[in-house]
């Protein structure tokens, strides 16, 4: 799974789905939670997207701020999940 592709896909989803990201634009290191781009409902939508697109399972204990703070962190989280699944 390529980092750039995963990151791009997540960015595309966030920009397409969340109005604030679309309005302001979003960079890979922008704070998604603190800046109000994602809220609980947004995280739930994003989780569904990640599970379906990257065929990973996101547990409740994965839903921690450190995994969802930025697109960079999200990308690393998805890759780690995918690698664990493959191993």
């Amino acid at each position: 799974m390529q980092t750039s592709t995963v990151g791009e896909q997540i960015t595309d989803f966030i920009v397409a789905r969340f109005p604030l990201a679309r309005k302001r634009g979003v960079k890979r290191d922008d704070q998604l939670l603190e800046n109000g781009i994602l809220d609980s409902l947004g995280v739930l939508e994003l989780v569904t997207y990640l599970e379906e697109t990257f065929e990973i399972a996101v547990a409740d204990e994965d839903l921690m701020p450190e995994n969802f703070q930025t697109i960079e962190r999200l990308t690393a989280f998805v890759q780690e999940k995918a690698e664990n699944k493959a191993a």
């Binding site: 839903l63 921690m64 969802f68």
Partner: protein, 346 residues
């Protein structure tokens, strides 16, 4: 980043709870509201859980549950209304919220009865969805225009003309609501002072007719509505033959009137007289609209529609009933519930 959830002590954690609620939920939530909502509830004190960041020693969020008595098929049972849920911006990744609300639900579930309900926002609905607690029904806001001034002002730009059009429109709206004040021997009046025993007697007599409905004792009504520090209400009563038959709880914020609660006998004439008197009073005080918020399965939704109220927005309701009372095994049967806006936490 690690955090933990603990049950709050309402004495020692009081300042922390008030400050957190003010910061993340509502800036008007102060000590007075805390005392009223958390400590003076006649059905018991609130229970609160606090999530804290273990490394930074900061508050991540708060979840509370407030006791309510409900008549379930006529038998009075303890339930909980969930509320005052808030999480700091930087922790809104769902995980902390899930752990916090799960702790709250588990905590109140340790008692005999474990039925709880909530009127969640959309974000909160996502948390319940992840917790496996489905939306079982909806609250509907029914609204009725009392004055046309705001609408006319948007369309007619010449003030003198707008005033004339509004006067005619307002008169027509008022005419539509014409209804004798004491029709069919129903005597309508504002309650002077606090609710007395006749309110408890009414609850005892008719609550069983409404499946699952809030236990509206006089003590509860005084606390919930008349002594509410944030949204003080007035109660208008309908007496038939000198006996309390129904009442409506109302308040007004700016130009918007709200029928917060309504309860009484299933009698169209009595209810029509009561609602009309409430509407007339709000109109006289300058209200432009009046709303009533009921569960969409409420038996009086169609009644209000017949009085000229129209359905506006809908909001979800969740009910968590892992161990329902024996009297009513299917607590999630939405058609059993008789909920009004007054059944919220505050």
């Amino acid at each position: 980043m690690s955090f933990f959830v603990r049950q709050a002590d309402l004495e020692t954690d009081r300042d922390l709870i008030v400050e957190t609620l003010r910061r993340y939920l509502n800036s008007s939530y102060d000590n007075t509201r805390f005392e009223w909502c958390y400590e003076k509830n006649p059905y018991g004190r609130a229970r609160t859980w606090i999530a804290e960041d273990a490394e930074l020693h900061t508050t991540v969020g708060i979840a509370s549950a407030f006791p309510r008595m409900f008549a379930v098929m006529g038998e009075v049972q303890l339930m909980w209304v969930l509320g005052d849920f808030c999480v700091s911006d930087q922790y809104r990744s769902l995980g902390p919220a899930l752990q916090l609300q799960r702790a709250c639900l588990t905590g109140i579930g340790s008692g005999k009865t474990t039925v709880s309900y909530d009127f969640p926002s959309l974000s909160m609905t996502a948390i319940y969805k992840r917790l496996g607690i489905p939306v079982v029904g909806q609250m509907v806001r029914l609204a009725k225009p009392l004055r046309v001034n705001r609408q006319v002002k948007k369309v007619v730009k010449i003030p003198v003309v707008a005033k004339g059009v509004s006067t005619v429109g307002n008169a027509l709206l008022a005419l539509r609501d014409h209804w004798p004040r004491s029709f069919g021997g129903t005597q309508i009046s504002f309650l002077d002072g606090q609710c007395g025993t006749e309110f408890t007697v009414l609850a005892e007599q008719i609550s069983s007719q409404y499946g699952i409905c809030g236990w509206r004792s006089a003590t509860y009504l005084n606390w919930r509505y008349l002594n509410n520090p944030l949204y003080p209400c007035q109660i208008m009563t309908a007496h038939v033959g000198g006996t309390l038959a129904a009442y409506v709880v109302m308040n007004q914020i700016g130009e918007d009137g709200l029928l917060v609660d309504i309860f009484g006998v299933k009698n169209r004439v009595v209810l029509r007289s009561l609602v009309n008197a409430a509407v007339t009073s709000l109109r006289q005080r300058g209200a432009s609209t009046v709303s009533v918020i009921l569960c969409d399965s409420h038996p009086w939704v169609s009644l209000f529609q017949g009085f000229g109220f129209q359905a506006r927005e809908y909001r979800p309701i969740v009910i968590h009933a892992p161990s329902a009372p024996a009297l009513c095994p299917n607590m999630k049967d939405w058609t059993m519930w008789f909920l009004t806006y007054g059944d919220r936490d505050s």
